[in-house]
Symmetry: C2
Amino acid sequence: MIVSIIGLGLIGGSLALDLRSNGFASRLIGVDLKAEHQDQAIELGLVDEILSWEEACKVADILILTVPVSAILKQLPIALDLIKEDALVMDMGSTKSEIRQSISDHPKRNRAVLAHPMAGTEYSGPKAAIHNLFHRKVAIICDPKESDKDALELAERLLKSLFMRIIYMDAQEHDVHAAYVSHVSHISSFVLALTVLEKEKSEANIFNMASGGFASTVRLAKSSPKMWRDVYEQNADNLIDVLEIYIKKMQGFKALIESGEFDKTAELMEEANEIGRILKETPHLMKYS
Amino acid sequence: MIVSIIGLGLIGGSLALDLRSNGFASRLIGVDLKAEHQDQAIELGLVDEILSWEEACKVADILILTVPVSAILKQLPIALDLIKEDALVMDMGSTKSEIRQSISDHPKRNRAVLAHPMAGTEYSGPKAAIHNLFHRKVAIICDPKESDKDALELAERLLKSLFMRIIYMDAQEHDVHAAYVSHVSHISSFVLALTVLEKEKSEANIFNMASGGFASTVRLAKSSPKMWRDVYEQNADNLIDVLEIYIKKMQGFKALIESGEFDKTAELMEEANEIGRILKETPHLMKYS
């Protein structure tokens, strides 16, 4: 199986590592705009060779787009034009509605499977690629009925070869839930970092005061601005919606501190504790597909 | 060395574990209001015996208060009344100004050392106690000149026996920096959890969408409401101050998304990325004391 990966960053590179070691890919082709990334991907053994974007599309049995979502929007329709008749194209973008729309009238729409692996780290570039990034994580496939049965099955086989658990949603639903859970947590982390950097002028104090708690809350603030800029653009409406609630809740929390209603902050924190139960217990309720 | 620990939770229990295994304590006395915690502390081998609050104060060479800060405020002056002439009292509270004030006129003020270990997890109670919680973490000692030299040295020896790096500050300065870095990250995490719980009605969706990124950002939302309620009360002014900046920055971020200025969000995220450099590089600039 010849697998071409467009975009040799954290996601593309990690896919390459595991698809090689589990034997799913017999040949790995890489594409990246940056010459530096191309060199690193070869040196790190992520891919066997670097081809031009067009060549990589043409030779692939499976073509995977792991570029920022604005680039997926542009590349996906052209990729569908170029691929072999029976090839599969997957994208791994963090938003889905506009991507789905971009190929809705394409005559080869049915060769595309839109996926979103709920996995990542705060690092980027080929050097960020790691083994087992996707292991036992969720992969969301959007609007599976719009893909050919064999294309869908091949995509599922690929994701399962990484030990991913597959969930199905429509693209709009996906974008709402992604905003509510995944995207907003990145923004809260970026804003926390900006606040601390503004208020705390001493780097030594930031370091000294930064217990493991601070470090984990602010971890996502190291994430790629380029990637997240695109996500905000693609998912602006849902994000505005959830940020409005977030800001109101934060203002409410601050108002309780201002008025000295500390017992009420404790009640809110008890409500918030519920998130721990959900993240811990829900796995037992879920079936691995 | 007889060490009495008042409050057998995450901090008290973890202290007990390490002070026993490194040989610093020859006998460990525990005190906890809850009978269940007393039983657990004995079963888990955290302490050798449970005594009454008064007894534990009287027999200790070192008395350590690891109760919520409102309880420290009440207990610390009375503990100073009860301890042996040459005993040391330490508190491990997350705020310091009011605690310092509570004993400022006490005739035995100089037997107290006010400390804040920058270490913890999101769990609480005796079962949350773990080995090496304090290893290579920062301990802040406030207003060291107000303590007797021998008391201060003993406190430093205890902290260093846990491999902690000691930093000195005055109490007010401590509370400002703690609010700016540590306390606000807890609030942002609690508020994120509340937002997600309100917007996302499906527990399965929260679980499915919760990648490692979400989990780490929301981790602190599992923290003890009782402990944090007190911290907000003790450090209200500094927290209001930093939350105001946080809310303004969040509103600014949302406004950029609303007006479609996505490149400007990328600039802000690049600024935020700086936090990664600080958390990574600053250790090399610091000397272990």
